[in-house]
């Protein structure tokens, strides 16, 4: 960490404008502060206008996408296997809540813990290669985890784990009503979102960005980049596990869908649509994709095609994503 300053100096200044209301503590500039306040307002007002279950699903995916973005956006590593953390988190949380009788907050943490463990192992193997190889290795590892989930007795195979109780927060506050559970989900999302921002704006985060920009140079500055990458990978996996665990409790189910490789593709799509490497992009992308999935359900078979078209359109024309393009138009960072 001794050489931290040199690396930061090598990067463009990040805080062009100070954040509002002391939000710069979180690393936000002014535009980001405003966007954050809007997000906060939407979080609070949302359930009064929209269907809470839908919103909870959206928030779980938003957190998943933010966790994923931590890797692709700030370390430049494209993981095509994040479903393993998300899905496994879901299974473990569901199992903990249903069989071991964990309270919801502990069950969610258990999901995060399994994400972390898996992340260390998968990361240790995967970070040996970069770029496309990294993507393919994570994909293959996720496929192995999928096989395990399919066959391990505790996952219930094709049926999944069903009827998972939501339980009571700290064993005290009953969460079976959608509205009460919503606040827990919102809190989990917010905590994860802020944590990621804190990480990104910490000296550690600056080193990650240095690795993204020029890894040989970061190495020559004395950083053991593999260690940094592994920590980032593990953090991302942990948060993905937490997102998956939360989602399992929202619906009371944990199934193979969440470990399947298509889920890894979906989170890439969300992040891409929202804007790679932006603070608010992944959440926005998750919102767009989840909304689409829900309301295109009537169009049946076209869902996959439409998703594909959006993918292609984003890559060809809107590489910065919704938030990225918005930020460009407004000439701010978001």
């Amino acid at each position: 960490m001794a050489a931290g300053h040199a690396s930061i100096a090598a990067l463009p200044a990040l805080h062009e404008t100070p954040g509002l209301l002391g939000l710069s503590v979180l690393g936000f500039n002014r535009a980001q502060s405003i966007a954050f306040l809007a997000l906060l307002a939407a979080l609070i007002a949302g359930p009064f206008f929209l269907y809470p279950v839908f919103l909870m699903k959206l928030l779980c995916f938003a957190l998943f996408a933010c966790a994923f973005n931590l890797l692709i956006g700030y370390v430049g590593l494209l993981s095509f296997g994040h479903a393993m953390f998300f899905g496994m988190g879901g299974y473990v949380s569901a199992h903990a809540a249903k069989v071991w009788g964990f309270t919801p907050e502990l069950a969610i943490l258990a999901g995060g813990a399994i994400g972390a463990c898996l992340g260390v192992v998968a990361g240790w193997i995967a970070i040996r290669r970069q770029g496309i190889y990294f993507a393919m290795i994570t994909l293959a590892l996720a496929q192995m985890v999928f096989f395990v989930c399919l066959q391990a007795p505790f996952t219930g195979g094709e049926d999944g784990i069903q009827r998972v109780p939501r339980g009571s927060l700290f064993g005290l506050i009953d969460l079976s009503r959608d509205m009460s559970f919503y606040w827990l989900v919102a809190a989990v999302f917010l905590a994860g979102f802020l944590l990621i921002n804190r990480i990104v704006h910490s000296p550690f985060g600056q080193v990650l960005k240095a690795i993204r920009e020029n890894e040989p140079r970061a190495i020559s500055l004395g950083y053991r980049t593999d260690d940094y990458k592994l920590v980032a990978f593990t953090l991302s996996a942990t948060l993905a596990g937490i997102a998956g665990g939360t989602k399992a409790l929202v619906f009371g189910i944990a199934t193979l869908t969440d470990v399947y490789w298509a889920m890894s593709g979906e989170v890439v799509l969300m992040t891409l649509v929202g804007g790679l490497g932006t603070v608010f992009g992944p959440a926005m992308g998750a919102a767009v994709i989840v909304t689409m999935q829900n309301y295109l359900a009537e169009f049946g078979a076209w869902v996959t095609v439409i998703q594909g078209v959006i993918f292609v359109a984003c890559v060809l024309a809107f590489r910065a994503g919704v938030v990225g393009e918005l930020a460009r138009v407004l000439k701010v960072r978001l």
Binding site: L78, F80, I125, R128, R129, G131, I132, Y133, A135, M136, I137, L139, A140, L141, Q143, M144, F147, Q151, W261, G265, V268, L272, A301, W302, V303, T304, V305, Q307, G308, V309, I310, F311, V312, C314, V315, L316, R319
Partner: protein, 295 residues
């Protein structure tokens, strides 16, 4: 002890042969991926979808045009290759200056679109397709097993195709240009070679290889829209194990892993699809660049 060994051998030999057949598909598909990657630096995620298209085009030729297996073996790769040309010209070519990952993402999107469209049109349970008359008939008695003639043909066809591709790339002038352009495209362009056209045709050739494998697969595997996506992940693992270094490497790895998988099917059948991923993890730990890759 010896008896036991003989019994294992008797069980194992047919699996070696059948493993080679599967290996033939891995080899053809990873070969196509390697050719495309070598030239374009793009991992073609749509490879599985193009494999599926090959099988479907063969089916369509038969059912709409009355064109049988043998012409389809040539026509389907050409048609799907032409589709590849369009794809490369209109979309992929815009991404060369960007991070390679965008190519992966674009082709992933394309795979979703292609699969979705085929599912809308043809449903999901699949289409019947029979092997050609001359290759159907009763299986050949090899002494230790009965092998359908068609399977034998698959291995031969895949070997010939791989060898041809290798010869073209390693031994012809065109291949020399290709290899040179991989190293330094600008320089080759300066010598008056039309590099963009060469890139387009390379992509088309890689795609055609996938379609060729698709036609080969049509008589023995279920012809359905998701037939490619279930295979492509295994092929990715094959590619990672082999490394992207050489054409020959991808062929050898393809056949080799088919063999390993085949043998696992006797010893421990439950693990036969996981075994490739386990090998991948081991290879990565020992030789991060893959067996044949350049570091």
């Amino acid at each position: 002890m010896l008896e036991d060994l003989l019994f294992q051998l008797e069980l194992g030999l047919p699996q070696v042969v059948l493993g080679l057949v599967n290996g033939a598909f891995y080899a053809l598909l990873s070969l196509g991926l390697a050719v495309i990657f070598g030239m374009l630096n793009v991992i073609n995620f749509a490879h599985g979808a193009q494999f599926m298209m090959g099988a479907f085009v063969a089916w369509m030729l038969l059912n709409y045009g009355g064109i049988g297996y043998w012409p389809a073996l040539i026509l389907a790769p050409l048609i799907v290759g032409a589709f590849g040309v369009v794809l490369e010209r209109t979309m992929i070519s815009r991404l060369y200056k960007l991070d390679h990952l965008y190519g992966l993402l674009l082709t992933f999107g394309m795979a979703l679109i292609i699969e979705g469209l085929f599912r809308n049109e043809f449903g999901s349970s699949g289409m019947p397709y029979s092997p050609p008359e001359i290759l159907s008939g009763p299986p050949i008695d090899l002494g230790f097993m009965f092998l359908p003639k068609y399977r034998l043909w698959v291995v031969v066809a895949a070997l010939v195709m791989s060898l041809t591709t290798w010869l073209v790339i390693e031994k012809t002038r065109l291949g020399a240009y290709l290899r040179a352009a991989t190293e330094n495209a600008a320089l080759v362009q300066a010598f008056g070679v039309n590099v963009p056209r060469m890139v387009t045709l390379t992509y088309a050739a890689g795609v055609a290889l996938a379609a060729f494998a698709g036609v080969l697969a049509a008589p023995i595997y279920s012809v359905n829209p998701q037939m490619g996506s279930s295979l492509i992940i295994v092929v990715f693992a094959v590619v990672v194990i082999g490394g992207m270094g050489s054409i020959l490497g991808s062929v050898v790895t393809g056949f080799g892993l088919g063999l390993v998988e085949g043998l696992t099917k006797v010893v421990y059948p439950e693990a036969s699809s996981t075994v490739i991923f386990v090998i991948m993890a081991i290879v990565l730990l020992a030789r991060p660049a893959g067996l044949f890759g350049r570091a």
